[in-house]
């Protein structure tokens, strides 16, 4: 019973925190520039405004142009439900597999690329090819990280990994930290605002009305899912399975602070580090290398050939 209640609370938390995280990052960025920044409810107001408008699309689009935003947001919402936030042992705990999560994120990227092709402009195609190119580097890095963490924890289930980390001190081992850092780099590149080509957001330009609102929300969810994934791999403070409200409250506090730290760090990185196209590929390559080094360290230390 508690697992279902914690799942429901978790769903409300994740789906509601996505726009709040985006607003926080926007305000941090604005403060660094010397501006005040948008109000906290700006995403909500933008969504309301977009839902009022009638979407327009080129006459030659297919059913994909309506399906792609829905696919993105559905897949990301499922991923958000699976990643634990303030408590372990939710009703979806047996499904919270890292491989499944990687697959869900990959599906979201494919839907984004298809949306770019549906835009039927050259820039949409450029954006789609950029997403798939980044994915081609990110997938091997992600799976190397999964291999390292699964080998250390003995399972690829996020929930079980969290429980194991709470019990023992596995989290402080070097391969684990290297794997988490590699995943952080991958997540940073995949959620960074793509440098606009010729002044345009490459993938979203053809969307309008409610579809654009859904794509914006999917982008916010994507950032939150990556941050929550990183936070769950460093699960200090998370409430163990079957605990009560007090532990949940502590878990919530720990989760909010972890997400906050990650959000502020990402906003600072955006302001201080310029990352053109070539830099993104280099960063993803670095992440893959780091994950590979972590795997090598792990196998060397455990004597597995």
């Amino acid at each position: 019973m508690t697992s279902v209640i914690s799942l429901l609370l978790h769903a409300v938390l994740m789906l509601g925190a996505a726009p709040v995280l985006a607003a926080m990052q926007a305000r941090v960025r604005a403060r660094l520039h010397g501006r005040v920044g948008p109000p906290w409810l700006q995403s909500w107001r933008d969504g309301q405004r977009l839902f009022r408008k009638q979407p327009t699309s080129s006459g030659a689009t297919s059913w994909l142009s309506a399906a792609a935003p829905l696919a993105c947001v559905t897949v990301l919402a499922v991923a958000a439900l699976l990643v634990p936030s303030f408590a372990l042992g939710m009703a979806t705990a047996p499904l919270a597999d890292l491989v499944l999560l990687a697959g869900l994120l990959m599906t979201d990227r494919c839907a984004l690329a298809l949306a770019g092709y549906e835009a039927q402009t050259a820039l949409g195609g450029v954006g789609a090819s950029r997403v798939m190119l980044a994915s081609a580097w990110a997938e091997p890095a992600t799976f190397l990280v999964i291999m390292v963490t699964a080998a250390l924890a003995g399972t690829s289930n996020l929930d079980a990994m969290g429980a194991l980390l709470l019990d023992s001190q596995q989290g402080l081992r070097l391969p684990w930290l290297a794997a988490v850092v590699a995943l952080a780099i991958v997540g940073r590149v995949m959620t960074a605002d793509a440098a606009p080509t010729l002044g345009h957001d490459p993938v979203i330009p053809a969307y309008s009305g409610w579809r654009l609102a859904v794509m914006h929300y999917a982008g916010q969810l994507r950032t939150l899912v990556w941050f929550a994934l990183l936070a769950s791999l460093v699960p200090f403070g998370i409430a163990p399975a079957g605990s009560g409200l007090a532990a949940w409250a502590i878990g919530l506090l720990a989760w909010v602070s972890k997400i906050g730290v990650l959000g502020i760090a990402a906003a600072l990185l955006e302001c201080w580090a310029v990352m053109p196209g070539a830099g993104r590929a280099a960063a993803l390559g670095l992440a893959a290398l780091l994950a590979f080094v972590a795997a090598a360290l792990l196998f060397a230390s455990q004597g597995v050939a």
Binding site: R35, T121, A122, A195, T197, L198, C271, V274, P276
Partner: protein, 455 residues
């Protein structure tokens, strides 16, 4: 014979302050051929009149800012049977001018490298509006016409309403895989027909039109137009007005350079540049009554004198700009680091640094001018006579040239040559081989004007 000798052999026409050389059609053709073998004379502009074609050359651009620099050479030739020898085989930058001449005056460039229309999309009510007998447009196309694409060329086009550039422009990047192989923009969306509007207008009305050609170089255009008008009428501008013109020109250059840097630099230095630019614009509003100092420079002098506390306000703002200079230089260093490996990274860095030194130079000019401001009137009266004049203004992106023919105080023929005409072919050359993701930075390092070209 060298092209300069051929030009100087022509008949001298009474243009002030430098003479205009009139060649016959054969002489123009010989000059066009001679230009192929002599790369030194640089083309500044090419335009036309109802029966003539005009070209403006810089005899030796390597001497540009030195005391040895010679006067610009303006050469004209009659157009016979609607044809004149094209300069574009010898000077590729002439291609845009020749397309514009074809659209506005109807004169065709024989053996030109590009015969496509530049400004005319087929929707004008009158074709060739500046020619002797404009033709009403009998067959406007039904809807927007997709531009003709060459076979085997792939374009990434932003469309005219993208908002990527300050001005409506269909920026079409020719790509070969991921590498850019050129730029093939579709101009004409911002064409206002200013040259046609200026015809027959008295000088004050024409000056108002000239100020509205390009907002961020309005002072440079106004100064160039005023110089041309004063040269044509033989009027001497009082010293105080000349000093105030130098001040307004330098302030405009600083503000536009800051705006260009704010667009090109990464986020933190860009935010500082944007704040400095805003402060400078507010100072200009307080002192001159307009954020861009539009309509402040008039033929004959200035519209108004400086108000009492103006010098202090200007110097305070300039002090703030100077104090931020080292932070901006560091931001430039970061841009340079991020573009290593991108084609033309030295060019991007050089252009951005030139803006920073330009800001420094302009700040120094204003301080010097304010310290030694002569007293006296700020405007001279203009006689309602005629004449022909050529004037230059130093704008943020290069020199602006204005050519003017006056008759009884009204404009008969004119042309405004913005540096954008030469900037767009340079961008085309600079982005060869660059990856597509580097295009925004290359474009922003040039910060080309759209309105200046479109007239």
């Amino acid at each position: 014979m060298t092209p300069l000798d051929l030009i100087r052999a022509g008949q001298q026409q009474p243009m002030r302050p430098w003479p205009r050389y009139l060649l016959d059609a054969e002489g123009w053709r010989a000059m066009a051929d001679a230009l192929r073998s002599d790369p030194k004379p640089a083309l500044i502009g090419l335009w036309a009149g109802t029966a003539h074609v005009h070209a403006l050359f810089d005899a030796d651009p390597s001497l540009a800012d030195s005391p040895l620099a010679g006067p610009p050479l303006m050469v004209s030739a009659p157009v016979e049977a609607g044809l004149y020898a094209a300069l574009s085989p010898a000077r590729p930058a002439a291609a845009l001018f020749e397309r514009m001449v074809q659209d506005l005056w109807g004169h065709l460039a024989a053996h030109g490298s590009d015969a496509r229309p530049l400004l005319d999309h087929g929707h004008w009510p009158v074709l060739q509006p500046l020619s002797a007998r404009p033709v009403p447009n009998g067959a406007p196309p039904d809807g927007p016409q997709p531009p003709a694409c060459g076979a085997d060329r792939y374009y990434v086009s932003t469309g005219a309403a993208s908002g990527a550039l300050p001005g409506p422009l269909d920026l079409r990047v020719v790509v070969d895989g991921d590498a850019v192989s050129g730029l093939d923009c579709r101009f004409g969306y911002a064409h206002c027909g200013i040259l046609a509007l200026m015809r027959g207008k008295p000088l004050p009305a024409a000056a108002r039109l000239v100020a509205r050609i390009a907002a961020d170089s309005t002072v440079a255009h106004s100064i160039a137009f005023a110089h041309a008008a004063e040269a044509a009428l033989g009027v001497e501008v009082p010293a105080r007005a000349q000093a105030l013109r130098a001040i307004t020109g330098a302030l405009e250059r600083s503000a536009t350079h800051l705006a260009d840097l704010a667009a090109a630099l990464p986020s933190l230095p860009a935010a500082r540049c944007a704040l400095l630019q805003e402060e400078l614009r507010r100072t200009m509003q307080a002192v001159f009554g307009h954020r861009f100092m539009m309509d402040c420079v008039l033929p004959g002098g200035m519209a108004a004198d400086l108000p009492p506390a103006a010098a202090d306000a200007i110097l305070r703002t300039l002090a703030r700009i100077s104090s931020e200079r080292s932070g901006l230089a560091r931001g430039l260093g970061r841009v340079a680091a991020s573009t290593i490996g991108v084609a033309d990274s030295e060019g991007v860095d050089a252009r951005l640094r030139r803006r920073l030194t330009g800001i420094q130079g302009s700040v120094g000019t204003v301080r010097q001018a304010l310290a030694s401001l002569p007293s006296g009137p700020v405007a001279a009266s203009l006689p309602a006579t005629g004449g022909e004049g050529l004037g230059v203004g130093h704008g943020p992106r290069g020199n602006v040239w204005h050519w003017l023919c006056l008759d009884a105080g009204c404009v008969t023929e004119s042309f405004a040559c913005d540096p954008a005409w030469l900037a767009w072919p340079s961008i085309d050359a600079a982005c060869h081989g660059a990856p597509l993701s580097a295009m925004p930075l290359i474009l922003r390092s040039f910060s080309p004007s759209v309105a200046g070209l479109e007239l």
